[in-house]
């Protein structure tokens, strides 16, 4: 992994970041810098304003008749947007222990056991910190697991699958409020169950959602983060 990104590098990339065309890796590194540098954030905000105003230049056209009712139909028949409920502190400790236990249970190889021990250490540090759980839902709104997040330096997520997701390997991706993507890693699912943990390249309040994506690039599961 490269060294810390400098302000100069981020300012050079800022126009592409603002336009949403910066390559993924560069974007992720820039986001880490932006999380701690208000000058660069201000610069990026200004350029984002320019990018936004460009979109306003496209002329308006009325869509064909019936457009509005077609949209309302789609909204009414689709699944409700997920609601988020913060877990009570008393429950948190129990859940943390459960995750750690599950992580150990599914640790087949010694490599996995090492990983599970790593989770446990990180989870222990989570005691007393902000902690929240979000449902992971499929396209039909059914819950397939949870994403547990805690704010720290760096922030962490643990993804726990407990539903009916098909066995296989899935990419775990983070989408920021700026619309940028960051690959967090992969999770192996066996009989609907799997666990995954990762530090985040951005602060928790910059996360819009976590996605699980299958081999075909299909967006399988989502956990929506509420706005801060």
């Amino acid at each position: 992994m490269r060294d810390e990104v400098s302000c100069d590098e981020v300012r050079e990339l800022a126009p592409e970041l603002a336009l949403g065309t910066a390559p993924g890796e560069e974007r992720a590194r820039a986001l880490q810098h932006l999380a701690v540098c208000s000058n660069c954030r201000r610069h990026l905000d200004e350029l984002s304003g320019v990018a936004d105003n460009l979109l306003l230049l496209a002329p308006a056209h009325e869509p064909p008749v019936g457009f509005e009712s077609r949209v309302i139909d789609r909204i009414s028949s689709g699944p409700r947007p997920p609601r988020w409920r913060r877990m009570l502190p008393a429950v948190v400790a129990a859940v943390l222990a459960a995750i750690a236990a599950l992580a150990l249970m599914y640790a087949a190889s010694s490599e996995d056991r090492e990983l599970a021990a790593h989770y446990r250490k990180a989870l222990e540090q989570a005691n007393g910190s902000y902690f929240g759980g979000l449902p992971l839902r499929d396209a039909d709104g059914r819950r397939a697991g949870h994403v547990f997040a805690y704010a720290g330096s760096p922030s962490w997520v643990v993804v726990l699958l407990t539903g009916s997701t098909g066995s296989g390997t899935y990419a775990v991706e983070l989408i920021t409020r700026e619309g940028a993507n960051a690959q967090l890693g992969t999770v192996h699912v066996v009989n609907g169950r799997g666990t995954f943990g990762s530090t985040l390249p951005v602060g928790l309040r910059d996360v819009a959602r976590i996605e699980l994506i299958d081999r075909d690039g299909e967006d399988l599961l989502n956990a929506e983060f509420p706005s801060p």
Partner: protein, 185 residues
């Protein structure tokens, strides 16, 4: 409904209020469809893009943060991303950048607070774009509307990657200085 701010309509949409949802769509449908049409160039396709844009707006309404900009621009960003995802634009011939900058400003469907701000800003922006060197304008439009990366622009224009990045950056910085006189967010 006609006097409600964009934010309150969006909040109504987010909470599932059907009247707010309908008013929200009516207020922005021309802008959203217009941008979709500009990018994908086909009416049928643009309709699908516009529909999907409102569905996503409903799903992600809770994620809207007014500190990041106006509702209209948030919505148009979604529209642009949907259009780019859906149309595999890297294979299409993008609309002639000259056409985009020639097109008249249409603000008749703007919400109440937009009426006074948008026209002046848009005029200044159009003028600033018009005086950009042609290659900078082209690179800017390719990136801003069609989501072309610097690498894709450099390959299409047959220029070094660094040159593509510089064209975009120079254009963006010029436009920023034009807008910063009256930056109201």
């Amino acid at each position: 409904m006609w006097s409600l701010s964009d934010e309150s309509l969006l909040a109504g949409l987010a909470s599932g209020d059907p009247e707010s949802a309908a008013a929200f769509v009516r207020r922005f449908q021309a802008r959203v469809f217009g941008l979709a049409l500009t990018i994908v160039g086909d009416r049928e396709y643009a309709q699908e893009v516009a529909q999907e844009t409102f569905v996503r707006a409903w799903r992600y309404a809770a994620a809207y943060d007014s500190r990041r900009g106006r509702v209209a621009t948030w919505l148009l960003r979604i529209a642009r991303n949907v259009a780019i995802e859906a149309a595999h634009l890297r294979r299409f011939e993008p609309m002639d950048p000259e056409e985009i900058v020639k097109l008249p400003i249409s603000s008749s469907d703007a919400g109440p607070e937009e009426r006074t701000i948008a026209i002046d800003e848009s005029q200044r922006l159009r003028q600033a774009i018009a005086v950009l060197p042609e290659e900078q304008r082209r690179a800017l439009v390719m990136a801003a509307f069609y989501g072309w990366t610097s690498r894709e622009i450099s390959e299409s224009e047959e220029i070094p990657l660094g040159t593509a990045k510089t064209r975009i950056r120079t254009a963006m910085l010029k436009l920023r200085s034009v807008l910063e006189v009256n930056d109201e967010r």
